[in-house]
Symmetry: D2
Subunit: 316 residues, 4 copies
């Protein structure tokens, strides 16, 4: 059993981590510290009403003496938190913000995509957890990048749920705006492009992010027009993920909701006339954030990689 501190326990990713770690066989309520400056002293069940009656854990304003710290803070605040708090030498850190994903600027950090960096994560004490869009796109394209097949244009459209924008209200997470609505935003200018290129190399990526009328999930389509050997590409992807616990190439066109409330990434492949379409679906809060963070923790501590992540999908 280890002790885990979730810094920023009142937000979406913090809340998901609380839910996961409370049920984690190596953490549980006894090992969990929920840190929130805004909600210090409040019961978890008041902050996250689904936990009402199920636990008497309270938020606190200090992280105690943890073995692992999860930083669920706004971008820019993670590095400030690390600067302002002294951690014992053995403490491991998983940062869910963008602050440490640029590995050139942050020596000593590992990028927390287990499907590519599993061994490095196992030996690391500082993991920069990938962005949600980045996870979905990297998992779609990784096998092609690794096999040298990603040389042409790649046009990615990825649509995300409202929780991707965080708990702070804004115009586009207002119910009257978002309900039954779709829009692009930050076209060709999303901040995740940098970490995608860091993982995939120099790819001719054209990325259009979209907001969708749902709370959880990312559905990404990566279209590659110049893929002359479709069978080779499909085979590269299928083979690459055959043994992965959370990345599954499915036989039909995947539906996003099948992965919601799970740590899975479902991948679908369709090719025609030298053009390949790769669909990749994740839950932005789980495989795209807190679920992947727990997967990284499991690797860092030598636990079963799937511990605490065998989640029942909500499906309907």
């Amino acid at each position: 059993m280890i002790r885990a501190a979730v810094i920023g326990a009142a937000g979406y990713t913090g809340g998901e981590l609380i839910r996961l770690l409370l049920r984690h066989p190596n953490v549980g309520q006894a090992g969990l510290t929920a840190v929130s400056t805004s909600s210090a002293g409040r019961r978890i069940g008041e902050v996250h009403p689904d936990l009402s009656g199920s636990t008497d854990l309270r938020c606190t304003d200090h992280h105690g003496e943890p073995d692992v710290v999860f930083l669920c803070l706004g971008h820019g605040q993670s590095s400030r938190w690390l600067a302002e708090n002294t951690l014992a030498a053995h403490v491991r850190v998983v940062d869910l913000s963008t602050d440490h994903r640029d590995l050139t600027a942050n020596p000593g950090w590992t990028y927390g995509l287990p499907e590519k960096y599993r061994q490095a994560i196992r030996g690391s004490s500082r993991v920069a957890n990938p962005g949600c869009f980045a996870t979905a796109i990297e998992l779609a394209l990784l096998p092609l990048a690794e096999t040298g097949l990603l040389t042409g244009d790649v046009v990615v459209h990825a649509i995300t749920g409202s929780t991707g924008a965080g708990a702070q209200p804004s115009e586009t997470t207002h119910y009257a705006w978002r309900e039954s609505n779709v829009s692009t935003y930050k076209t060709f200018a999303h901040q995740h492009e940098a970490e995608i290129r860091q993982v995939l190399g120099d790819v001719r990526l054209h990325f259009v992010p979209l907001r969708g009328p749902f709370t959880r999930g990312i559905h990404a389509t990566s279209v590659i027009p110049g893929m002359h050997d479709l069978q080779q590409a499909i085979s590269a992807i299928t083979t690459r993920y055959a043994e992965e616990p959370y990345v599954h190439v499915v036989s039909n066109e995947p539906a996003m909701k099948a992965v919601v409330n799970t740590n899975n990434c479902h991948i679908g492949l369709t090719g025609s006339n030298g053009t390949l379409c790769i669909v990749s679906c994740i839950d932005n809060l789980l495989k795209g954030a807190s679920g992947q963070a727990v997967q990284n923790m499991n690797l860092m501590f030598g636990f079963d990689e799937t511990a605490g992540l065998n989640l029942k999908a909500s499906v309907y």
Copy 2:
């Protein structure tokens, strides 16, 4: 470890049972038989895409030699199934249909509401699992009925998600109809009234069922105008559920989504000028169907009552 057969594995409640039992510490994939005449031979992951890649279980057309049978069939079909299939003497049955809920007509059966019939369920081999509306309404009113406080009019409005209507398409589960829509149906004439009266006794119930624009969940409000001693009523409810694992009286007006994808029932209480309003919220497929069925199985077999039911809420 026991062996469980889910009859009707392709439907909503069958699918939920598969999800729960696959992860149940006393069942798991090795103990699970998924019976579906329409989908016999197909992989579970094709029938329920969220399980694609996570299990290689297949549907079959025969129930094998189970220790427990879950009947997830349409109303009327459960009794026919039992008539047409011979079960070994030790086999226990949980019927999720309405077929055996009338206990006068079905001697030997127990009504599967653990909060009232826990002891009887422990000793029973035939459990009629309660209806979803019935569960929400009975849990709201049970403590008042038991303490003789349910003598006046009780007006119940309960709004349900589309999965309450089953997987078969119909006009009112069509997306274009249901999206952002609300309507009453079977006003004062819902089939669950009978089982509610069987549990609560002769109550002056006026029940308006409603269809709501969501997939999972029931939100019920029971308004009782002639409740002169509000404090006594509130105290009766709060005390009654203090030790229940899945019924929680919450301190504010509960939001339905907090219980979705869990086995919980959240109850909220508001009184004013001799009128009491009791809100009760459940997930219609879990506490209102498959979750309660597993809770009953746990009781019948002497397992921990909460085994396999410590579910992560989807929340957002």
Copy 3:
């Protein structure tokens, strides 16, 4: 043709009025002034993107010289606006806030429910537009109150869309909160009860307001247990509205979405064993606010009562 000024043109009810008055045969773009302090100088199409490209009207910070002023301001701000602005003697005012609905405290004002006060509205220069919940509930119960049939308990549950809470973001209009969610709020304590009693008289009303997962619409169910002569009650309601242009008793259980984006109120009636259930559905922003405001303007100026209100429902 008259000139109309909409004060608070950037909000929901202001926006709806702009949309209606731009197409109104007696107003149109030439007669319309859109007043917004926050958006003064901006094109209407920037503030309300559906109008982008369809009009070059701009918001302004002064109301000019109107014949009618619509006050679409927050509660409390309407009376302040009237105190701070001098209007010519002939100018008529329709106030959509609660500020002037208490007629005892506001002599000279008329309550703008055309179905009851049509003649008074025709002769009035100051109309307090009813609240959205109040409109739905009053239209359900008015015929019974007028015929002396409203003597027993009336339990009302009314569920509203997110636009009822205004454009200002809040926790419960956040998409992640509201999507697929239902909750009560202000149980037995909603501010519209006062105006309902003013219209209906001393009624034993028990009103539970609910928030629903949709943007537009109110679905209200009024349950009256002690209605011994059901046929008389049903007949009173049906007869009362036979000639009304916007209140229609429908033959089946009405679906809320049928009235969305129209000025209609649909009423459905079900009785059984001395209990009556009246369903009433409106669009909270139209019959519950801006549509009714235009209907009142039409009456005040002697226009065809339905001018500019023959709206295509969105339906699906």
Copy 4:
């Protein structure tokens, strides 16, 4: 005033035409015949509940003696209807199905995209109304095709509401499936590709259709990587539509809901590093079907092109 017959009045596009033509200044209830074999004899308000109380029109099984016939039948059934029914020589036909969109196979027919074929439509008695996806994509790309700028790869992702699939229930229009879900379908193989190529010429189109969790609307993004002179392309599009009544280039990234329940197409343009993204949004039932059909009727009969189409958006 003319007489119009809507064949297939019980479906989605038939219902929308009824709503539009009832309010059309040159048709109205007196000129309207609603033909439905399945609903013959029923009141329109029973078939389309939003019209309950607003009209006493009834469905019939014969089209009478119309001046214009709208065919709102399933694909394949329109040509059969024309073969089985004799129309007077002066009768004009607008076919909303795919049956006559292939102009090579259907001499005498005109493709009903007013923005390109306005003059031809004016002189035509047979108009094949464009498909919904086709309309959105053609309007996005037409100016580039006409100016010779459409020579490279064009990757189109277009997400549609459930009404695009028709009123007949299916797995993917089931509420429990569609709610909060996204999926591709018919990737690179959608039947609208043929008519798009007919309008745009030989374009290297890679089209991924998607199903979205909403009822009305199409949001299409057309990404063109090799657009070296972005300013020229943007200028070509902006100039081309400057005078169009229903196609508006908006200044920011358009939100789909702004065009829902209107006949508008909103276009947004973003370019970066030689890649152009064109967003085009329509209501699939209006500009993508029945609204465009009325626009075509207006042109065919010499009415004001916008008659009956100045619709209030639902917006929220």
